[in-house]
Symmetry: C2
Subunit: 197 residues, 2 copies
């Protein structure tokens, strides 16, 4: 048996997604070999993430402030709201530098297989925000659950705020995508959404 404190650390690492016994052991033994300073910073970061970070009350993004940086930013278009599944997606979109509106984090997707219902998600606040918006862009994944959620939201928003434009991100071949590697659904969408060039 490993010493008790090492065993506890292995169990903590095992609770991470996709980490099995062997990987957790490797992580824990790596930590045992690191400098005290580095390990303490790691431990502190863990506690900080729990104590300092909250969800932005407006959009649901992760933040250390009362309201997140994006919602606070007056230069962004607050009448254009892009709806994503999780805070992680915001970072990916911000990296493109393309979008200057604001976001809304659902914190999950409607899923019959996982038993996640619309009321489990951050949807009420979205409907409230939509009343003052010009456009709501539905940017959930193009998976089954993502499409279901987008479909549900488009119906709900068109009904509750009929004056707001509700759009869905484009489907098609990814950049650098090879035609013969694409699945049927992707090809079908790529064909249906073809554009005049």
């Amino acid at each position: 048996m490993y010493p008790k404190s090492l065993q506890t650390l292995i169990e903590s690492f095992r609770s991470l997604p996709g980490v099995g016994e062997k990987t957790a052991e490797r992580y824990a033994l790596t930590m045992a070999d690191k400098d005290m300073v580095e390990v303490e910073r790691f431990a502190q970061a863990l506690v900080d993430v729990k104590t300092k970070i909250t969800h932005c009350p407006i959009c649901g993004n992760l933040t250390e402030q009362e309201v997140c940086e994006i919602c606070e930013n007056k230069e962004r278009n607050h009448k254009q709201i892009l709806v994503v599944q999780s805070a992680k997606d915001i970072l990916a979109l911000e990296k493109t530098g393309e979008f200057r509106g604001t976001y809304h984090v659902l914190n999950g997707l409607i899923s019959s297989s996982k038993g996640i219902l619309p009321e489990d998600l951050n949807i009420d606040t979205l409907v409230n925000r939509a009343k003052d918006a010009d456009e709501i862009i539905l940017a959930t994944s193009t998976t089954l659950d993502g499409e279901t959620t987008a479909m549900y939201l488009s119906k709900l928003l068109n009904q509750k705020c009929p004056e707001v434009l509700v759009t869905r991100i484009a489907h098609g071949l990814p950049s650098g995508g090879l035609l013969d590697y694409a699945d049927e659904m992707t090809l079908m969408h790529a064909l249906t959404n073809r554009k005049k060039v």
Copy 2:
């Protein structure tokens, strides 16, 4: 950008072996969603591993005690010493329940590619222990570095303690190994070391 504390945690996770940016993000966001109790236990385990765990002065195994459990155990055969690369290997061997001797952790392997020399390893203490032993079992991996280290140790031990029996763990096909999947070296060893049945 993620909030600062989350960014720090992502960097800490990135320092683990084989963890890239995406995985570190996933780990950090998972931690942000966990209970405070669980996160605090994780943070405490990290600090404990550094403050409580040391290397056993006799065999080099990880321990929270002055001398590790195995070296302390009087029921084990202290005249039979099994030499491994790292403390991790001890756990794997202990799980078999087959071996009742003691261990010696080298803390690495001699490696020309990584520039690891015999003097970087826990070899001096091994030679001292070997003087009172009956058998030294070399159980380093059957990789290039493992074989080099075993070769070096066998020469050194035969020279310094000629009365001690130095053995090497068996090479051959692994259990459940298919003949046509085995590499040439494994097959060669499996043939050379064949036994009368």
